[in-house]
């Protein structure tokens, strides 16, 4: 490739390579800088570490702690704990829960910081994991006592 056309091709190749590298670096820097605002939620550990102002609206994510779920007498107000394995936050929520909501399930709740009591959620979303299994398979696994919820495995 010593022809003039060949040289021009090489020049264009380098131009594409360098401009793409610069672009990727720039976008990478921007995304790193915006890390906190891109993430949808904070986990209980981050919640304790970072100082959020009282009343500030945030999303909190984690697993619904086992045996933490209870319902008030009105049948509409729910209490449960959200845990990431290390830290646990109590949540109170009034409204309807998604079908997938259960203890051990990943959830994302939106609400405001309350430094003197439980986190007051106004919206509860269930997080699905990446595993799909037929009901019969899960039943037989449970019968043999070897079934474990995938998210429980991760948090241990």
């Amino acid at each position: 490739m010593t022809t003039r056309a060949g040289k021009r091709k090489k020049k264009r190749l380098y131009l594409v390579l360098t401009s793409m590298t610069v672009l990727v670096l720039a976008v990478g820097l921007v995304l790193t800088a915006l890390q906190d605002s891109i993430s949808l939620f904070v986990d209980p550990t981050e919640l304790k570490e970072r100082n959020f102002a009282d009343g500030q609206r945030i999303r909190l994510g984690g697993l619904v702690a086992e045996e933490s779920f209870s319902k008030d007498a009105d049948g509409l107000t729910y209490h449960f704990d959200i845990t990431d394995g290390a830290e646990t936050v109590s949540v109170v929520y009034k409204g309807s829960l998604p079908d997938l909501f259960r203890e051990g399930q990943g959830v994302v709740v939106e609400g405001s910081i309350n430094q003197h009591g439980p986190f007051v959620a106004t919206e509860v979303l269930a997080k699905h994991d990446e595993n799909y299994m037929p009901k019969e398979v899960v039943d037989s696994l449970k019968k043999r006592g070897v079934f474990r919820h995938a998210e429980e495995e991760e948090s241990i």
């Binding site: 672009l23 976008v27 993430s39 949808l40 919206e123 994991d129 037929p134 398979v137």
Partner: protein, 244 residues
């Protein structure tokens, strides 16, 4: 390089392939969708609503593959300046836009019963929406710019710049906290699906790939033929002027 990219040769070979691709698309699409909708067992947590993944996952996957294809074609177009590369990228854009729209629509209908919301501005959903606008932007360049050489060059740059979004979509679920779950198929430790669900999903993905190849080949053929038509029209006009 140029030998294979000869438009006339490409037209001849692709015309031999497309009927077969079309036939296989129909077979795999019907089989895959029927399998996913009626035969595959229900999920232990989500019941029947998980059946949406048999259209959602292939659409979302191809929405990225299609843009990747356009980006590669655009690199070839910029460096080797071959019209076939521009035509390939241009032909694929509407197909990719449809896949992206389908991924967003079906994902939203999956989100309501599973998450409890149709839409959330998490990194995965937002970057996929950005992809849809990139497709629209790319297509708009071809419509808006009169001069074809100029349109090709601007479109190729748009395709390349937009390609930065592809790894962001793919890894958004690993880099940031999102509501969207991580990958089930391409992950360390094998697929997170039971084989009874995995096989219909793979069939649907194959069907979408075949659909993509068939339709994009037809659209490239169309663009090549239109170029030939324009050439002939010019020659006809010249002939008529010479005769008249």
């Amino acid at each position: 390089m140029h030998k294979f990219a000869n438009p006339a040769r490409f037209l001849r070979i692709s015309k031999m392939i497309t009927p077969w691709c079309f036939f296989l698309t129909i077979v795999t699409m019907v089989a895959g969708l029927y399998w996913g909708l009626f035969i595959a067992p229900e999920d232990y947590q989500m019941g029947a609503s998980y059946r949406i993944i048999f259209v959602h996952v292939p659409a979302a996957h191809l929405s990225e593959i299609c843009y990747g294809f356009m980006a590669v074609a655009s690199v070839v177009a910029i460096i080797w300046k071959h019209p076939l590369a521009d035509q390939s990228a241009r032909a694929a854009a509407p197909v990719g836009a449809v896949f992206t729209a389908l991924a967003l629509f079906t994902g939203s209908l999956w989100g309501k019963p599973t998450w409890g919301t149709y839409w959330i501005w998490d990194a995965r959903l937002t970057s996929e929406l950005v992809l849809l606008f990139l497709y629209f932007g790319y297509m708009a360049v071809w419509e808006a710019v009169e001069d074809r050489t100029k349109a090709a060059r601007i479109a190729a740059i748009v395709a390349l710049v937009g390609a930065v979004n592809l790894p962001i979509i793919k890894f958004s679920v690993d880099w940031w906290n999102t509501l969207h779950q991580p990958a089930s198929l391409l992950r360390a430790g094998g697929a997170g699906l039971h084989p009874d669900m995995l096989w219909p999903l793979l069939t649907c993905i194959l069907a979408f790939y075949l659909f993509f190849v068939t339709v994009v080949l037809w659209r490239i053929q169309s663009l090549i033929i239109r170029r030939q038509i324009r050439g002939l029209q010019i020659r006809l006009a010249e002939e008529e002027r010479a005769n008249g």
